[in-house]
Amino acid sequence: MRFGRSADILTDIDFAVEPGSFHFLTGPSGAGKSTLMKLMYLALLPSRGALTLFGHDVRKLSRRDLAATRREIGVVFQDFRLIRHLTAFENVALPLRLSGIDDRTVNRHVPELLDWVGLADHLDAVPQALSGGQQQRIAIARAVISRPKLLLADEPTGNVDDRLAMRLLYLFEEMHRMGSAVVVATHNEALVSRFPYPRLMLERGRLARVGGGMAGRDESRGRQ
């Protein structure tokens, strides 16, 4: 992967994320974690090589199919990317609305999830009125609300204390139990070491695998 005429930022990346698996993606700042995540959530298309998601080569997907594939992926962006003038409630409701879920279901599920991430009192607050950690939790709620097949979280615990970080990781674990494939990018080694999941380590654009087994069908697969 490269941007324009830059040097390659990611090279020889070849790995597969199995359905329902859980991976940590670690590596020093600037190693290319976010770039690899962007490839997986289809913000970027690989400049060379193949990227297969849910069994489809992404370069062969139509615009409409790309959009449908994106709706199967929940993303916690490193910079949150909440919609500024929408309330916490409306931000979290958005993936459901995009999938055409009816208002009644939305009105039931969104407050429940926001309550679970500790924001029951801030349903109608706009992001600017909330702290970094609170915004991050909205971003997480938005990523998991539609129970995506693939959940990608880029540094999702960067702005919260350890206790809350653990709680959020339990939420990801819960999603993993319910069948989502989860990839969490982080440089919080302490946190990673408390969970038994395999680790993908990026070092200057190259991938090394550490620990954990990988079994199961080859359905959601990234290769570059």
Binding site: A67, T69, L94, P111, E112
Partner: protein
């Protein structure tokens, strides 16, 4: 503790379900007022042009109905009423012989007095003032008036007779009306073009302004049609409100013009717009909003397709 609990909803205070808020911000957006003012201005001009068009069409058809195929011949009074009557009758008979003329009738003195009464007041039918005699000539329908031939025939009977040709007058009016029509249609077309261009620009500007939001929606799997739809609705609402303001202004102007016009109403026939005209005028804001919605959607779709 690990599992997001169900049945927690009860203790979460929540205002009664609101309509889903639009992800595109609609308040405090500088483009909003501009588009509304453009829409109001465009609607004002378009509706004024429609009024002119509708009133003009009505007016011309009224004139045609009243004047088409009619000629009036005037015989100056000689002071001898009996002689005047004889001459008028003779001329009428002579004219009826022409195959261009369907009917020629000399108007009696009372009829003529009634015609001029509004200008000169009552004359008591005494014939105390010498009045010119009038002959009302109806042409055969479809006949084109050979004015020179008619004039020769008239002069051969009564040399002093004067032909008052409505045809020429109506033709002149018709030409004027057609010019006004062409102008009004041109104004409509130009206003339409301006609205299309302005809305296209507004849609692209809004996309640029909301770029961040659009990108987020895109990454969350929103289809182009969804984003274009949000934009279309935004533009529809603004142009509809603007259009209604334009309509109100145009109606106010019309009623003001009507009040000024009624001062000279004795001479000018009252302006009427007609059923079709009113339908076109009253639905103009909606028509404009629908066209704007289509344009906004189309240009948004075109702009979105250029992205990954």
């Amino acid at each position: 503790m690990r599992k997001p609990r169900v049945a927690k909803t009860a203790d979460v205070p929540r205002a009664p379900a609101k309509r889903a808020a639009s992800p595109l911000r609609t308040k405090g957006d500088p483009g909003a007022r501009t588009l509304m003012v453009i829409a109001a201005t465009a609607a004002f001009f378009a509706i004024s042009a429609l009024m002119v068009l509708a009133a003009g069409t009505q007016l011309v058809s009224q004139w045609r109905w009243a004047f088409d195929g009619a000629v009036t011949i005037q015989i100056p009074a000689t002071g001898d009423a009996a002689a005047d009557t004889t001459r008028a009758a003779a001329l009428a008979t002579a004219l009826e012989a022409s195959d261009q003329v369907a009917r020629a009738r000399a108007l009696g003195p009372q009829e003529i007095e009634r015609l001029i009464e509004p200008w000169l007041g009552s004359l008591d039918g005494t014939g105390s003032i010498p009045l010119p005699r009038l002959i009302d000539v109806r042409l055969v329908s479809g006949a084109t008036l050979d004015l020179a031939a008619l004039e020769r025939r008239v002069k051969s009977v009564v040399p002093e007779a004067v032909i008052d040709d409505h045809g020429r007058w109506v033709q002149g009016l018709g030409q004027l009306a057609r010019t006004v029509e062409v102008l009004a249609v041109t104004v409509l077309a130009l206003v339409g073009l301006a609205v299309v261009l302005a809305v296209g620009l507004a849609a692209r500007t809004a996309l640029a302004l909301h770029r961040e939001t659009v990108d987020i929606l895109h990454l969350m799997g929103a289809e182009d049609g969804y984003v274009a739809g949000l934009l279309g609705r935004l533009v529809f609402r603004r142009t509809l409100v603007g259009g209604l303001i334009g309509l109100a202004l145009a109606l106010a102007t019309l009623s003001l013009a009507g009040q000024i016009g009624s001062g000279v109403g004795a001479v000018l026939p009252p302006l009427t717009i007609g059923m079709e005209g009113w339908i076109a005028i009253l639905t103009a804001p909606l028509t404009m909003a629908v066209i704007s919605w289509l344009v906004a959607r189309t240009s948004a779709l075109a702009a979105l397709r250029r992205r990954v």
